[in-house]
C-alpha cells in the first residue's frame, strides 16, 4: 500500500469516527429526552433516574469529539465539505450536550414533583412527543447528511412554540384559580420551558446540518409559532 492512500484512508477513518461520536451522542440524548418526558408525564420515577446518569457519558463524548475535531483541523487542513462538517460537528455536539442537560433537569424535577390532583399533563405529553420526534429527525438528517430533512425539522419547531404558548396559558389559569397549585405549576412551567429549549437546540442542529451539506446558511429568521399570544400574556 502506498503512503498516499494510507494517509487518505486514515483521514477518512477519522472523519467516520467523528460522525460516529456524534451519532452516539445523538442516541444518548434521544434516550435521555425520552426517559425525561416519560418520567414527567407518566410519573415514572424509575425513568427519572436514567437521564442524569447518562450525563457524564454525553460530556465525555463531547470532549472526545471536540479533541478529535481540533486534531483533524490541525493535522489535515480539511477543505470544503470536510471543513464544514468539522466546524458543524463542534457546534452540534455543543447543542446535543445542552439538550442532554435540559433532559436531566426535567428528570430531576420529575422526581421532586408530586402530581396528586394537579393539572392535566396531556399538553406536556404531546409537546414531549413532538420535541422528541423533531430531535430524532434532526439526528437522522445529521446521520444521512440530508438537506431536505434538515429544512423540514427547521420549519417544524413552530408547532413546538405553539404548544408551549398553549401550556403557558393553561398553567397560568390554574395558578390563578387556586394558589395551592402554584408550586406544581411552576415546576411544570420550567419543564415546558426546557422542552421548548430542547426544540430550539434541535433547530440549531438542523441549521448546522444544512450548512455542512450545502455550504449555505438558512435565513436567520425562522418561522415561529405562538409569539403574538405570548406578548399579550407577558405584558
Amino acid at each position: 500500500m502506498t503512503e498516499a492512500t494510507h494517509t487518505v484512508k486514515s483521514y477518512e477513518q477519522e472523519l467516520e469516527h467523528l460522525r460516529s461520536l456524534m451519532r452516539q451522542m445523538g442516541g444518548l440524548v434521544e434516550r435521555q429526552t425520552a426517559q425525561a418526558v416519560k418520567a414527567i408525564v407518566d410519573g415514572d420515577d424509575e425513568a427519572a433516574i436514567e437521564p442524569p446518569e447518562l450525563d457524564p457519558e454525553v460530556d465525555e463524548l463531547e470532549r472526545e469529539a471536540e479533541a478529535l475535531a481540533i486534531r483533524i483541523l490541525a493535522l489535515r487542513s480539511p477543505m470544503a465539505v470536510d471543513l464544514r462538517t468539522i466546524v458543524a460537528a463542534l457546534k452540534i455536539t455543543g447543542d446535543l450536550e445542552r439538550i442532554g442537560d435540559y433532559a436531566s433537569s426535567i428528570a430531576r424535577r420529575a422526581m421532586k414533583l408530586d402530581m396528586e390532583g394537579g393539572p392535566s399533563l396531556v399538553g406536556l405529553r404531546s409537546m414531549g412527543r413532538l420535541v422528541q420526534d423533531n430531535l430524532r429527525r434532526a439526528i437522522d438528517a445529521l446521520a444521512n447528511e440530508d438537506r431536505d430533512a434538515s429544512v423540514a425539522v427547521w420549519q417544524a419547531d413552530a408547532a413546538v412554540d405553539e404548544l408551549y404558548t398553549a401550556m403557558f396559558r393553561e398553567l397560568m389559569t390554574y395558578m390563578m384559580e387556586d394558589p395551592r397549585n402554584i408550586g406544581t405549576c411552576i415546576h411544570l412551567m420550567f419543564v415546558a420551558k426546557n422542552l421548548e429549549r430542547i426544540g430550539d437546540h434541535t433547530t440549531n442542529i438542523a441549521e448546522r446540518v444544512y450548512y455542512a451539506v450545502t455550504g449555505e446558511m438558512l435565513p436567520s429568521v425562522r418561522p415561529r409559532g405562538g409569539r403574538g399570544n405570548m406578548a399579550s400574556l407577558q405584558s
Binding site: 467516520e16 451519532r23 452516539q24 442516541g27 434521544e30 434516550r31 405529553r125 412527543r129 430524532r136 431536505d148
Partner: protein
C-alpha cells in the same frame, strides 16, 4: 465463511433433491462442484439477507448503518436510524471485541411510535469483511406485546373515567323512576328518553375506544395494500352524503386519479371522521355550510406524496386549540354542545392512522372563515 457454506449446502441439498440417492459418482462430482462453488461465491451477502424472514442490518466498524434487508425496512422503516444509534445498540456493539463474537441487548424507542426491540449482534467472520460491513445485527420487534400490555391499562383508565358520568346519570334516573316518579307516566316517559340518550352515548364511546385501541395495535405494523383516489372519494361520499343532505350541507368532491401505498379502509375512516367533524362543529347560522373533499398530488420537503384535504367554510377553530386537537379526550369548549358532542377521540384516531402511514396531519383554521384539514401520505 459461514454464509458461503450455507449457500453451498443449500445449493447442494437443492441439487440432490430429485436425484436417486446412493449414486456415488454423481455425489463425487457434486462435491467437486461444491469446492469450486466455495472458492467463488456467486451470491452476495446482501442478497441472502434479503431472503431472511427476520429484520437484519449490517453495521460498519463505527456503528453506522450500511445495509438493511427488506424485512428490516418493512418492519422498522424510518425508525432504523434511531434504533442503530440507541445506547442499547452501542452497548451491545461494545461487547464485540474480537474475542467475543456475539452479543445481545434490548432497546426501547418512543418516536415515531413506541417500539421494544431485542437485538442480537454478530461479528462478521474475516471472509465476509470485503466491504465496509463488520457486524450483522438481527432485530426482533417485541412492540406488539408491549402495546397490548399498556393498552389494557390505558383502556381501563380511560373507560372508567369517561363512562362514569353517563352511568351516574343513568343510576340517578333509575332511582327516581323507582321512587318519586313511580306513578307519574309523563315523567317516566321523559326520563326514559334521557336514559336512552345516555345509553346510546355510552355505546358510541365504547365503540370509539375500541376503534382507538385497534388503531393503536396496528400502528407499528406497516400498512400493506394500495389506496385509489377514485374509490376513496366514492366511499366517503356514500357514507356521508345522507348526513350532509339531512343537515342541508353541500358536499363537494374532487380528485386526481392517483394511487398511493397504504390501508384504504383506514384512510376512508380518516376522511369520514373529518367530514363528520365538520358536520358537527362547523355549523354557522347565516349561510349553508359547504364541505369540500379533494385528493391531489403534493410534494412535501422534496418527497412526492398525495394529500387528502377536507375543508369547510364554517365557524373555524381558535388558534389556541389547534395544537391540542389530536390529544385524546380534548374537546373545544362550547363547540357542538347542543348536538350530542363527541368525546375528543376522533382526531386521536386520525393521528394514529396517519402516523402508521408515515404521513403528516395538519389543521389550519381561521375563525369565521373555515377549517382545512390535510392528511399527507408519501408515495414511496
Amino acid at each position: 465463511m459461514l454464509l458461503t457454506a450455507c449457500v453451498a449446502t443449500g445449493w447442494l441439498t437443492g441439487g440432490l433433491f430429485g436425484w436417486s440417492l446412493g449414486c456415488r459418482r454423481v455425489t463425487a462430482r457434486r462435491a467437486r462442484i461444491r469446492r469450486e462453488e466455495r472458492r467463488a461465491p456467486v451470491v452476495s451477502m446482501e442478497v441472502l439477507l434479503d431472503l431472511l424472514p427476520d429484520a437484519a442490518v449490517l453495521l460498519d466498524g463505527h456503528g453506522a448503518l450500511r445495509f438493511a434487508n427488506i424485512e428490516a425496512k418493512a418492519t422498522f422503516g424510518e425508525a432504523l436510524g434511531t434504533i442503530v444509534r440507541s445506547p442499547g445498540m452501542f452497548a451491545a456493539l461494545r461487547k464485540l471485541d474480537g474475542v467475543t463474537l456475539q452479543a445481545s441487548g434490548s432497546l426501547v424507542i418512543e418516536v415515531p411510535v413506541r417500539r421494544v426491540v431485542r437485538v442480537a449482534v454478530r461479528l462478521l467472520p474475516d471472509a465476509l469483511t470485503t466491504g465496509p460491513a463488520r457486524v450483522l445485527a438481527i432485530l426482533s420487534d417485541h412492540s406488539e406485546m408491549d402495546a397490548v400490555e399498556r393498552m389494557r391499562a390505558d383502556f381501563v383508565a380511560y373507560a372508567s373515567h369517561e363512562l362514569r358520568t353517563p352511568l351516574a346519570a343513568l343510576s340517578g334516573f333509575i332511582e327516581t323512576l323507582r321512587g318519586p316518579a313511580a306513578n307519574d307516566p309523563q315523567a317516566q316517559q321523559q326520563f326514559l328518553g334521557i336514559m336512552a340518550d345516555q345509553a346510546a352515548r355510552m355505546q358510541r364511546l365504547i365503540e370509539q375506544l375500541l376503534e382507538l385501541s385497534r388503531v393503536e395495535m396496528l400502528e407499528h405494523r406497516k400498512p400493506r395494500g394500495r389506496i385509489e383516489a377514485a374509490s376513496v372519494i366514492e366511499r366517503v361520499r356514500e357514507e356521508t352524503v345522507a348526513a350532509c343532505t339531512a343537515k342541508g350541507v353541500v358536499l363537494d368532491t374532487a380528485y386526481e386519479p392517483l394511487s398511493v401505498a397504504g390501508d384504504e379502509e383506514q384512510i376512508i375512516r380518516v376522511l369520514v371522521n373529518l367530514v363528520e367533524n365538520a358536520l358537527k362543529y362547523a355549523k354557522v347560522e347565516e349561510r349553508p355550510l359547504r364541505i369540500r373533499v379533494r385528493i391531489e398530488a403534493q410534494t412535501q420537503h422534496g418527497r412526492a406524496g398525495v394529500v387528502f384535504v377536507v375543508e369547510d367554510d364554517g365557524a373555524g377553530i381558535d388558534a389556541a386549540h389547534l395544537p391540542r386537537l389530536t390529544e385524546r379526550f380534548y374537546r373545544v369548549e362550547g363547540r357542538g354542545r347542543t348536538s350530542g358532542a363527541g368525546y375528543g377521540l376522533g382526531l386521536a384516531i386520525v393521528r394514529h392512522i396517519v402516523d402508521r402511514h408515515g404521513g403528516s396531519f395538519e389543521i389550519d383554521s381561521v375563525v369565521g372563515k373555515g377549517t382545512c384539514c390535510q392528511v399527507w401520505l408519501p408515495v414511496a
